[in-house]
Amino acid sequence: MHTASWHSVGMTLDECIKCNVCTTYCPVAAVTDKFPGPKYVGPQAQRFRESGQLKSPDISVDYCSACRVCNEVCPSGVKIAEINARAKAQIVAERGIPLRNWFFGRNEQLGRIGSIAPHLANLGFHNPVSRYLAEKIMGVARHAPIPRWSTQGSFRKWFFSTPRLKSDKKIVYFHGCSTNYYEPCVGKAAVAVLEHLGYEVIVPPQNCCGLPMLNNGEFPAAEKLYRSNLEKLVPYADKGYPIVGTSVSCVLVLREEASEMLDLENAATRSLRAALWDLSEWLRDLLERGELDTNFRELKMVLPYHVSCQARAHRMGRPSLDVMTLIPGLDVREGNAKCCGLAGTYGYKVEKYEIAMKVGEEAFRFVRAQGDDVKFTTSDSEICRWQLEHGTHKDCRAPVEILAAAYGLYDLDKRRLL
């Protein structure tokens, strides 16, 4: 893609000293020849790309899962994952987007449609025949862990139909598509925790963060979504309200990825960045200021914690760990697996499912190694939670659910408020 400015991610290719550290740690290159490695498809191939070329020269960049482990280990500051994403977008701009990937991008609409009649939708999607057909016709891997629609209604429906705390301390909540349609319990736990801390939670109009579109190279559509969110959220940022999200990948998109990948930077994007927090990050900030209620009940269990690659991509440390380790009796064990493998929409694709499962084996092995009587695992990203459940057959909970339980507000087993 053409370099738009000296600050574009493509320019960081010049930082690369070809040292091979990224390729050494790339979990996808480790398991398949189809992906030649981040150094090759990132800074190296970038020197052979220009916009307006007769044709995009790329093929194998499609197998980058966007896990960002390459960025993590690079000693030179090359924005490899972003370079790869833009190369994918160039391919889409030239050759168009496969229907399946187009559907992935319309994740929000799919969520909304299914939530009208969730039982029916779940029945329709989650049966072997539909899964088989979806694989054959659409290329959606039949065994990949697609989520179920919540049968208790969407998060927004619950939020706006139940009495909520009013307070001078206000905080905005960005729920994201998966919390709204598939895991409203996570949203409920978040609201419970925030209200417990004395905050009035505001849930403004908001839309999909656009991550599935960004990951699949549909940049113009992703930009529309991003701009729409800016319009909806920045007024709250400008009022000085913090905006928290429980979906660590949505927050990453809204804070950094969208702006970088779309090469879009202005006062609004900066304003949103300054106001937006991952919920654990915000709670840790409260903790550092002595304002977090640390009066937790005991939760006696071993809790393997898979640190989502998207959480690490924030470079914000381990705020979930910092907060969860305050809970008495809780033996949180941090895993070092690079990626659960599902990586957004990657592992749902039939040609990538096996790769995703091989990549995730490191995480599954880690969970297994913590013992058979482990009941729950935890991870910040919904994608990781679904993949971990798929690979380990152990229930996975979001850190905010653990916290809500430790505050005595939430039932971890049944996943509902007490």
Binding site: L252, E281, H314
Partner: protein, 421 residues
Amino acid sequence: MIDLIIIGAGLAGLFAAYTAARAGQRVKIVAKGLGATHWHAGTIDVLGYYPTAAAPVTRPLDALRDLTRAQPPHPYALLDGALNDALENFLALMQELGLPYAGAANAGDNLWLPSPVGAARPTFLAPRAQLAGDLQRAEPMLIVGLQGLRDFYPHLIAENLTKQGHPARAALLPLDLITERRDSNTAQLAAALDEPARRAKLGAALKNIVQPGERIGLPAIVGLEAHRDAFDELQAQVGAPLFEIPTLPPSVPGVRLTNALRNRLRQLGVRIEINADVMGFHAEGDRVVWIESDASGRPLKHRAEKFLLATGGILGGGINSDHTGKVWETVFDLPLVTPPNRGQWFRARFFDPAGHPIFRAGVAVNREFQPIDARGARVFANVWAAGNLLAHSDSILERSLEGVALATACAASRAACHPKP
């Protein structure tokens, strides 16, 4: 509250963290990424050539006496027995971690190990898997490579070794002995050899071609996580001494070393935050209060009582420069010792035995390994520096990269544990 933040996760940073954590300090490491340990041989080079690349050193610890006299500001000259302590601690640690290192049969001598191009490279301590390659041993060598592994050329190695009086012959085995993949790097091949079935195939093939009395040199790919078992089993199966030869990056021996150290540090409760690019700091008076690293939203502050800089010099990104000839230290903007102007940075020949003066540039430190300015005054009360960042040593030219890293990390870390007011 963290007692000590170490900036840099190379050998110096990791070893400094280990030293401090063992002394009871609460330690955290922040690093931009992973570096030189992944590019070098996985050995501990203490001193290979001194004073220029024309003068090989046979006994490094003896040579250190001359060095200390001749170059008082050299990092080795500032140590107070720390080199010996560091090496001993390192050996003990690696023994514990199941990745034992050792020196030459004649204690105190340098080892001379075959390099990937067939030269004899001096090093002081090597992982056990490389030891049988010591060229001071007499057995003839069979150097074995894999067809399609583009980072290892056994015939070239054998020819150059033979020219130097070390008899060697070469053989190539098919890559599909150990992997179905066509495209892999050495780390991926090493992971493949973690599996016993693949090892057995390789072992059978080696057994087939080795002749009695020979020792076999392989690229350093004999196992990654299961290296110890992999190596021992393979050697037992083949019935001849094996030795690994390091390859172009990624360095599998280096990755094994880093993984082992990081695991131990995790057990000691040291948090290692990779992907934390330090871009600012705040000091009050002459004390650094916090550093901050780049993050997706707001920069992340890291507070501690003390800070130890192990950012690796030009190679590690701890020192940067630009077209105007400006050279600067990238975290605290510490004063640097550098050549007087850009015209003096380099010599005309890449392989000049005297090396290139810019690579001796770095942070000058006092005997407590605290950075000092041109007048010799300490810059910060609570900052220490170690490793390749330090001035007055070109540790690539000298072949002293790991020796300087370990010794100065040990010394700086100890000094940080007992800071002088």
